[in-house]
Amino acid sequence: MEEAESFSNPSFLQDVSTRASERSGSDESPAVAQLRKLLFRRILIGASDGRFFLGTFHCIDKQGNIILQDAVEYRHTRRSGDPSPMEQRCLGLILIPASCRTSCHAECSIDEQISLLSINK
């Protein structure tokens, strides 16, 4: 996997995690492993200005900044009043800084949701 990537990445841009996983997959904490399973799933992130972003989970870093792929932005068309009609816009690849993320929901089956809750404990 790493060889294929290095055609587009000069080697100094190789990130730490791939080297880490080369060492041993079992070094990962269960939380990290669980989060890794959520890659490529649809994620709905709420931003601090009231917008929502729906996209596939692409990447996350230690600070909690998240990259979504094929993201769609949902926004209200009225400042107040529940419910207000929403409109959407396609954005593509986006980065949501941890500082403006207010909520994060992942699409999963009911069973998974239950197991997710046990991790949260």
């Binding site: 995690s17 939380a31 649809r42 709905l44 699409e107 999963c108 089956s109």
Partner: protein, 735 residues
């Protein structure tokens, strides 16, 4: 069954999901799936990650990830919710754009005039290079035109505005005139297409008719005459009726005539140009009335909040209602729009006056001009630096369907102008690959000449290679055919003649392009004073070559007509052509003298007093030479123009020797003789005047420097472009 975002559901272990955000989104999850809060999971996973560690999949590339739009970054995220309305509908619900604009008829009319004026300022701002969404379509009335249908005046004005925008966009898109940023034609998500917009003129005419009758009625009333018809007044204050009617009429008429200018100019083959000029004149006259109306409107609004007369976007000074630029932010994909400063109303009026004068110049194009004169026409057109709209119109007029003015194919024009009428009888010339290639190069050149100065210069430099290659190919073909025809009849082979004429014409045009490339560098301020010497030296070389090619062409034409023993009436035409050749030859001769004179003065100053001699850690003189003339050197235009030759030519320059050569005096003599040939041509006379000033002042400066002595430390010489944009004048200061 799609499940919604769940709220407060208890899980088996007794834990609760985190409460969803306050605003309740209605974004469904998939079938058999739910939205599960993963914030706690993320928090603990991130805690466990090492510094610099990422969680990503196999398709992840750090390089690609750098192109991700960062949310909440004002430069990348167009949708950041600021204060203000979240949508056009919300703005409308909050009465931002009421219809009618006021229940008080007088106030309604006043506000409509403000909307019209602000739209006018927005339109000028758009033409200058901003997006439609941030300017004209910041008007909510335009964004939802259907709402205005109960208000005849506003509705008709919006319709014709929309039709005008469409007309302008289609000309600019068709011409594919490049600008640094193609913001002009961006219209994503804007309601530009409207049904029945072709009828917008008749709708406007009926509104104009009504207001004319209202004006007549109020004038009749003021003169205590019996009114011919019973007509409802425009608004409720009889004292203001006349003023408001006039203010509206000139605005409506301007809009009508401007639309007609655009539609007339669009007629193929330049058939509507004369009519367009009449409409331009009407536009300018209505603009004068519009300007006069400002006093009336401004006085009426006294007491309301009024912007300063220089910065206001309306004649009255009041802010218009019904505009909100931020509503359109999301339509400017993908990055947020730059802050747009709407021109003031006064600036907009000046902008349109200039635009109309540029369009008028385009309409003055005589479609019988020979190709060489077409090039001169475009150069003249470009002198006042016309904007995109005018330039796009010229380009569309010149090249339609690959023909000049949509009338003649370029290969026919080339054959005709090279004085080879026999060739048009047969179709063989079309296949002559050189003529076809040349035709393509000419089309490309005409389009480039219509672009803005910076783009034009860049492209002119690039095409030098193509022109130079064609010249080379023609030369090779010509020499080959010369060899072949030696064995054939006495009469010169037709294709040899074609090649010779093509070669000369192509070479002449190539040097013309080179000279334009060099001169535009002055207009764009690309040269530092340290570089002027080498630039003028190069211009001198290029002009010399250009002159040589023109003289060869003239000689060939004379030879041609002598051999054919032309009749008297053809002789007259030839005389005119020769006269124009000789005056263009003289002009180039003048440029040669001035370039030589300036190059030598600068060289002498550098040699004697070390002025204009750049020392420093950056590029040396030879490197700068190569950088400036890289494209010319690569294309061998001209041949052997090396840095070594430059140093040789200028290394021994001294003020005392230059005085003897007296280039500037020679230039003055030429200018005097040219005055006769240019009589009646005001544009050419203006340039002669400028050249005269350049020659005279430099001549004087040279003698002053000679008297004082170039080495005198109190002497400072600078070069300013106070009279002619391409030829500097030496300015002497003594400290």
């Amino acid at each position: 069954m799609a499940s919604r975002l769940v709220q407060g559901q208890e899980g088996e272990t007794g834990g609760r999901l985190a409460d969803p955000p306050i605003s309740y989104p209605i974004i469904p999850a998939g079938e058999q799936t739910v939205w599960a809060d993963v914030s706690p999971l993320i928090a603990s996973a991130c805690n466990d990650l090492q510094d610099g560690q990422l969680i990503h999949g196999e398709n992840f590339s750090l390089f690609a990830a750098m192109s991700a739009l960062e949310i909440m970054d004002p430069k990348m995220d167009a949708g950041v919710e600021k204060c203000g309305y979240y949508s056009i509908e919300e703005a409308i619900e909050n009465n931002v754009a009421p219809v009618p604009l006021s229940l008080n008829p007088t106030l309604d009319v006043q506000r409509v005039i403000d909307v019209i004026d602000h739209l006018f300022s927005c339109e000028a701002t758009w033409y200058k290079g901003h997006t439609l969404a941030q300017t004209v379509f910041s008007c909510i009335y335009l964004l939802r035109i259907e709402r205005t249908s109960s208000h005849a005046l506003l509705h008709s004005y919006c319709r014709i505005m929309r039709a005008t925008c469409n007309a302008v966009i289609s000309v600019v898109s068709d011409s594919r005139t490049h600008e640094e940023e193609d913001l002009f034609t961006m219209a994503y998500g804007l309601p530009l297409k409207g049904e029945g917009d072709e009828k917008c003129l008749s709708i406007l005419n009926s509104v104009e008719e009504t207001i004319s009758r209202q004006l007549r009625a109020c004038k009749a009333q003021s003169l205590k005459k019996k009114q011919l018809e019973d007509i409802e007044p425009l608004q409720s204050n009889p004292d203001l009726e006349e003023g408001y009617c006039r203010a509206l009429l000139c605005r409506l008429r301007f809009r009508k005539h401007y639309y007609l200018v655009l539609t007339s100019m669009k007629k193929p083959q330049g058939k509507g140009l004369e009519l367009a000029r009449k409409h331009v004149a009407s536009c300018l006259s209505e603009l004068t009335h519009i300007t006069k109306s400002q006093e009336f409107l401004r006085a009426l609004s006294y007491g309301f909040h009024q912007d300063d007369i220089q910065s206001s976007t309306t004649a009255s000074g009041c802010r218009p209602i019904g505009f909100d630029a931020s509503l359109n932010n999301r339509f400017s994909a993908p990055t947020p729009p730059r802050a747009t400063h709407i021109l003031s109303w006064k600036e907009a009026v000046s902008y349109f006056q200039k635009l109309l004068s540029d369009l008028d110049f385009v309409c003055s194009l005589n479609t019988d001009l020979v190709l060489d004169d077409v090039f001169c026409f475009i150069v003249q057109f470009q002198k006042p630096q016309p904007d995109l709209v005018a330039r796009a119109h010229l380009q569309i007029l010149l090249i339609q369907d690959g023909k000049l003015y949509g009338k003649e194919f370029f290969h026919d024009i080339i054959s005709r102008e090279l004085g080879l009428p026999e060739l048009t009888k047969g179709k063989e010339h079309q296949k002559n690959e050189f003529i076809v290639q040349l035709g393509q190069l000419i089309i490309n050149l005409l389009k480039i000449l219509c672009a803005n100065t910076a783009w034009q210069r860049r492209k002119l430099g690039k095409i030098l290679q193509d022109w130079s290659v064609l010249s080379l190919q023609l030369e090779i073909a010509f020499k080959r055919e010369i060899g072949e025809t030696l064995n054939v009849m006495v009469d010169e082979n037709m294709s040899t003649k074609v090649s010779k004429h093509l070669l000369r014409w192509t070479e002449e045009r190539t040097y013309w392009i080179a000279s334009r490339f060099l001169m535009l560098g002055f207009e764009l301020e690309l040269y530092s004073p340290y570089d002027y010497c080498m630039v003028y030296w190069f211009m001198y070389l290029v002009f010399m070559k250009l002159l040589e090619k023109i003289q060869l062409q003239t000689a060939a034409n004379n030879e041609n007509s002598q051999r054919k023993g032309k009749k008297k009436k053809d002789h007259g035409k030839d005389q005119i052509r020769d006269a124009s050749f000789s005056s263009s030859t003289l002009l180039i001769h003048c440029y040669i003298c001035l370039s030589e004179g300036l190059a030598m003065i600068l060289a002498a100053l550098r040699n004697e007093s070390k002025a204009f001699h750049m020392v420093g850690p950056f590029n040396g003189e030879e490197e700068r030479f190569i950088q400036h003339f890289d494209l010319l050197l690569k294309a061998h235009v001209p041949e052997h123009a090396t840095y070594y030759l430059f140093k040789e030519s200028t290394g021994h320059a001294r003020i005392s020797s230059i005085i003897k050569d007296n280039c500037f005096r020679e230039a003055q003599k030429i200018i005097t003789s040219l005055r006769g040939s240019y009589a009646g041509n005001s544009d050419k006379l203006i340039e002669l005047q400028q050249l005269e000033q350049v020659a005279e002042r430099n001549r004087v400066a040279l003698s002053v420097i000679d008297q004082i002595g170039a080495r005198d430390p109190s002497l400072t010489v600078s070069f300013e472009f106070t009279h002619h944009p391409h030829f500097a004048i030496a300015v002497i200061k003594r400290s």
